[in-house]
Amino acid sequence: MTGLIDMLVQGLLLGGFFALSGLGLSLSFGIMRIVNIAHGDFLVVAAYLGVVITGLFGINPIVAIALIMPLMFVLGWGLQKTILNRAVDGGELSPLLITFGLSIVLHNALQEIFSADFRSLDAGPVEVASLAIGDIRIGWFALSILIVAVLVYALVSWLMRKTTFGRIVRATVDDPEVSGLMGVDTKKVYCLGMGISMAIIGISGALYGIKSSFSPLTGGDQLLFAFEAVIIGGMGSIWGTLLGGLTLGIAQVIGFSIHSGWGAFAGHLVFFLFLFLKPSGLLSKGDSHV
């Protein structure tokens, strides 16, 4: 019994990261209808930003997040304004191809600048500190990620539900043409949306760099996990992605407990089960979508 509870707890802790990273992907799809194939690579970019910032200022990578997030926001805004906005009117395929191209460019650029060596961000003792409840050990760092994830979800949800900005975003998602006729500069809304998406990728990427080692080519797996979280949760649903991430985390931990190489495999298996049995995901588009 304790073993089972332990697995669930560890699964939720791992899932917190997938949920946080998935939110960035979920937002760019939910708001701009952009499937960001370069999602994982931007996560890696954020981790390398951590390498540069901690190297320059000698600060803890957790503190560096305060710089990484605004930098990624600006990067997202600029990317949307200069490249993606030209493509959003042409259906969903053009932005998808553009982000695919960006992914290749990022692989090569990162290898050129940072070499193909694996790196990781050192956040100090907090990475290994844990608390024990009975026989279950909970890592402080993993717990912090889960708490941060839930807080970020609550913040984004509040932003979408209760603020004027959220209303404009929902109107733009509903009907960009009519929104334009209501005086909404939809291209600017898209810039803001991509900025927020990238800021969330920024915090996820920094945490990813602390919890795992990374290289210019490790973004692919991260895209896959984030994508699975979004699909399991239901595309376009914010809270669904949180549930999807947590589900994926639990699946991976259970797989890992069966065999040390089966973690990711069990996650993919659950993902495929959802594709077959409930392709609309846990929370299909209802009241909770962006």
Partner: protein
């Protein structure tokens, strides 16, 4: 207030707006009629900026807006409604009006909320204020189109068959609302198939066929023109015989 000079828009060989020159004064009410496919709605789309003109010029309040995006034209004071209502499905009546008031009218905070609520009240939707737009009836959806356009604080309203599908009684209610809007100084351009409703309201009537303006003037005189009769109503049996 609105000036169109030799405005043209074509899709391949099909000219949906053909060399259109038109002036509409402040406070004027103009009706547009024409057969299906004559290019009435296309004309609105070009004026509102959803569709770019191939050639010609659009001036609004003295400014050349021919190449401006729709949201800037809206802020300048152009509001339009759609023939088939396009409500924001996931939003309430108030939220929809609030988006228009925040951006089209450029208001914020309490002023935006008040203006949005006022627009909702003017069109008689106050009892549905916090209901989702998707639950509205056809008449109320048409009102919602008008509400949203009003909440952008327009100087000119482009109404696309806002009376279509409504009963006589409902159209009278609508015209009462439009009279109040006109009296507040807003110019109204109205495309409508229900000719008697239209001619009872507008100061001036134009007829469009194949993208071209074929008649322009006093509604009664325009309706009496033989070519209008022929194109719009079909050939009169007595005349043909």
């Amino acid at each position: 207030m609105l000036e169109l000079k030799n405005l043209t828009k074509a899709y391949g060989a099909l000219r949906v707006v053909d060399d259109m020159t038109l002036e509409i004064a402040q406070g004027e009410t103009l009706g547009i009629i024409g057969p299906n496919g004559a290019g009435k709605t296309s004309l609105f789309s070009v004026i509102a900026g959803q569709v770019a003109a191939d050639s010609g010029e659009i001036r609004f309040c003295g400014q050349d807006v021919t190449r401006r995006p729709p949201f800037e034209r809206c802020k300048a004071g152009l509001g339009r409604t759609f023939q088939v209502p396009r409500p924001f499905h996931g939003m309430t009546v108030f939220e929809s009006a609030h988006v228009a008031a925040s951006f089209g009218a450029g208001l914020s905070g309490q002023a935006a909320s008040d203006f949005a609520a006022q627009a909702v009240e003017r069109t008689g939707l106050l009892r549905h204020l916090n209901e989702p737009c998707s639950s509205l009836t056809l008449l109320d959806r048409k009102r919602m189109e008008l509400t949203r356009a009003l909440a952008t604080n327009p100087k000119m309203l482009l109404l696309d068959e806002i009376g279509g599908g409504l009963t006589d009684h409902e159209i009278h209610e609508l015209i009462d609302i439009l009279n109040q809007i006109r009296d507040s100084g807003v110019s109204i351009v109205w495309i409508e198939h229900i000719v008697h409703a239209l001619t009872s309201f507008v100061d001036r009537l134009i007829v469009i066929n194949f993208g071209r303006k074929i008649a322009d003037g006093n509604p009664k005189e325009v309706m009496a023109l033989p070519e209008v009769h022929e194109i719009y109503m079909g050939v009169d049996i007595d005349d043909a015989a």
